[in-house]
């Protein structure tokens, strides 16, 4: 019993880490630009297809593909910001959010047209052979996903905390006007934010696609991640990470103790409960909006 529960938690954490990465992408863009980017899940899908193409069609080595995918995904983020978001930046936020939903549909259809709607296996360097360690039963795949996610999160933390650009990004998130007065190029920061968010989405894609297979509907993982971000308190970076991980574990445990139906809605039940008790989410600051 305890053995099975432990393995449920480990595999839940692995899925949760991927949710956390996508949630992080949501929160970064939201903090910097006030926009909720509903195409965030599509970065995951698109990067899955990018790495599939590089690995299978061009036969490049895995780590090169890993880095190239993140890079290309980042470029995609910048393009999306420049083409879709920036021209309407002065429009109401609502319009921009709708534009991102449109972009998400376009990306999904484009993937369908290019690759078809078939499900494809994506190779990975992490083995799926089971390892037994005391009561823990896990695969190198789980460890790889959790490890990669933690490394990325740490790197981001250090970037925001210690680099000048990171500080400029935080400054922009706090007050665009003040940041601009201090000589920060807000436009560049916006582009950079989108690049980083999309890049993180790209990492999530490379990590999750080999686990749950690759198809144009992979981006729907963004919906779960979005719930994770809200759970953690939308706008809080540690909140997004913990919210995402919590969700992964909760899904696994509710599926284990109940059935598939409960597993499917457990995310949203928890979300509603948390929002009733703490409307700003687990880690969210009480929101104040200028009017």
């Amino acid at each position: 019993m305890i053995e099975i529960l432990a393995s449920q938690v480990v595999s839940g954490l692995a899925t949760g880490c991927v949710y956390a990465l996508v949630a992080l992408g949501f929160v970064l863009i939201y903090k910097a630009t006030d926009v909720v980017n509903f195409a965030q899940g599509e970065f995951v899908m698109a990067s899955g297809f990018i790495s599939y193409t590089l690995l299978i069609r061009y036969g490049l080595p895995y780590w090169l593909v890993f880095c190239l995918t993140i890079l290309l995904s980042g470029v995609m983020g910048v393009v999306l910001e420049r083409v879709v978001v920036r021209p309407i930046m002065s429009a109401p936020i609502f319009s921009i959010v709708i534009a991102t939903i449109g972009a998400s549909t376009v990306m999904r259809s484009a993937a369908g047209i290019i690759y078809g709607y078939d499900v494809l296996p994506l190779p990975t360097i992490f083995s799926k052979e089971p390892i037994q360690l005391g009561i823990l039963n896990f695969t190198p795949m789980d460890v790889g996903v959790i490890g990669c996610s933690i490394v990325i999160m740490l790197a981001l933390y250090l970037f925001f905390k210690w680099t000048k650009t990171g500080m400029a990004m935080r400054a922009t998130a706090q007050s665009q006007t003040a940041a601009q007065l201090m000589g920060v190029s807000v436009k560049q920061i916006f582009s950079l934010t989108w690049a980083i968010s999309a890049g993180i989405g790209g990492i999530a894609g490379v990590l999750i696609a080999p686990i749950i297979y690759l198809d144009p509907n992979l981006g729907t993982i963004g919906v779960k991640a979005f719930a994770g971000a809200i759970l953690g308190g939308f706008g809080s970076i540690p909140g997004a990470i913990i919210g995402g991980m919590l969700l992964g574990v909760l899904e696994n445990l509710s599926g284990y103790f109940f059935n598939a139906g409960i597993k499917q809605v457990s995310t949203y039940i928890l979300l509603i409960l948390v929002l009733i008790i703490r409307p700003s989410g687990l880690f969210g600051a009480v929101a104040m909006k200028k009017v």
Binding site: M1, I4, S7, Q8, S11, G12, T15, G112, G116, Y117, D118, V119, P121, K128, P130, Q132, N137, F138, T139, I212, Y213, D215, P216, N217, E251, N252, L253, S254, G255, Y256, N259, A260, G261, K263, Q264
Partner: protein, 398 residues
């Protein structure tokens, strides 16, 4: 301006004359049938969770229709297939069916994909008296729901009875679990299996469900492992078995996996790799690589009309449906109506298109055309035959 009004009157008279004298108007015998054309409708999944099936079934049916049309059609009528994408979602299937029946005025629904999606439109089709011919779902529902529905090959219920018989009688197993999709599709085989186990004085040792389009099965794997099941019956499609097997193996749990025909695809092996080695399945029509003139024709037609698709069980499934339908059209004769088509289908007996598998109408309480099946197993990355064709017993939920 009097001449203008006069002109309009003449024009109207001419149009009326043309309409009245055209053969189409004279012989408005049946909806969706003219002297030149038979319009057939289908709702399939082209972009959703079972898109692989949808795209291929459509291509397989079109390959037959294109060949027949190129050769002059059936009694001079071209067959035109209209398909809409329902994304494997019942509400969309209903909207599409209404579009096909009321706007496109189809003669019949043919090869409609998916059990939950086809069940959603079942009542609507009956109400409008539109035959549901050879739907791309093997639920036992179509075999037993009266004159407007007719299935093609052995149902999930029949196949599950075969699976249970095999596990209990040949493998002497008693600890049998069911992993099923929580909808009409998964439940058909799941409940039939339950009934068959009762026949042997047994019951499922674990019953584990999942939802359409679920992608993670670690909790299901945990429950199955805990139950200690020796065999797990997969009432699933092609995407779930590889992932479930992988997650069971990750827990150090290696039961015998066995499932009905929807899992017997090359895709299952492509996705699962060595995790699906030794998985057993039920085959209810021969694979594309078998010999025989019918399959030679299939390979030539696919090469000609759908060269972008590899030869696969899925498009062959659509292909054999369309071939069976064309045979029924020929038997129905020149005066084609929905009634005459349904009547013609009942006259099919021991009809072999040329691949060793014979089609016979099963009777009014068992409206399917074949009950042949054989067991296959994944060996070194290929589906390998375990038995010859068997004539299945009628499986049911009782």
């Amino acid at each position: 301006m009097k001449w203008v009004r006069h002109g309009w009157a003449v024009l109207a008279a001419v149009i009326v004359l043309i309409l009245v004298s055209s053969p189409r108007a004279v012989r408005a015998a049946e909806i969706g049938v003219t002297d030149k054309e038979i319009v057939v409708g289908a709702g399939v999944d082209l972009t959703g969770a079972v898109a692989n099936w949808g795209v291929n079934i459509k291509a397989g049916m079109e390959a037959v229709f294109n060949r027949v049309n190129d050769a002059g059609g059936v009694y001079g009528r071209q067959i035109r297939l209209i398909t809409y994408d329902h994304v494997y979602q019942p509400p969309k299937a209903v909207a599409n069916a209404k579009r096909l029946v009321e706007r496109d005025k189809v003669f019949i629904m043919m090869g409609h994909l998916g059990t939950p999606t086809t069940k959603a439109i079942m009542g609507y089709l009956e109400e409008h008296k539109v035959p549901n011919v050879f739907p791309a779902t093997l639920a036992s529902l179509w075999a037993t729901s009266g004159k407007w529905h007719v299935g093609d090959v052995a149902t999930y219920a029949d196949q599950t009875w075969l699976i249970i018989d095999y596990l209990v009688k040949e493998r002497k197993l008693t600890r049998i679990a069911s992993f099923y999709q929580d909808d009409e599709y998964g439940l058909d085989g799941h409940l039939a299996g339950k009934a068959r186990l009762q026949h042997y004085g047994l019951e499922y040792i674990a019953q584990v469900d999942y939802k359409r389009a679920d992608i993670d099965f670690s909790s299901q794997a945990a429950k199955l492992k805990e139950s200690g099941a020796e065999a797990v019956i997969l009432q699933a499609v092609y995407r779930e078995p590889p992932r479930l097997a992988e997650q069971c193996h990750a827990m150090g749990y290696n039961p015998l996996f066995i499932g009905p025909s929807p899992i017997v695809l090359d895709k299952t092996i492509e996705l699962g790799g060595k995790h699906v080695e030794d998985v057993i399945g039920v085959e209810v029509w021969p694979p594309p690589t078998d010999p025989g003139p019918f399959l030679d024709q299939y390979r030539a037609d696919m090469q000609k009309y759908a060269p972008h698709l590899p030869l696969d069980m899925t498009n062959l499934y659509g292909y054999q449906k369309a071939a069976l339908f064309v045979e029924a059209l020929q038997r129905a004769g020149r005066d084609l109506t929905r009634e005459s088509l349904l009547q013609a289908i009942t006259t099919i007996k021991d009809w072999d298109p040329g691949w060793g598998l014979k089609y016979s109408y099963g009777g009014d309480d068992r409206r399917v055309m074949s009950r042949a099946a054989r067991l296959v197993m994944v060996k070194e990355g290929k589906w390998v035959r375990m038995s010859d064709w068997m004539e299945l017993e009628e499986g049911g939920r009782r």
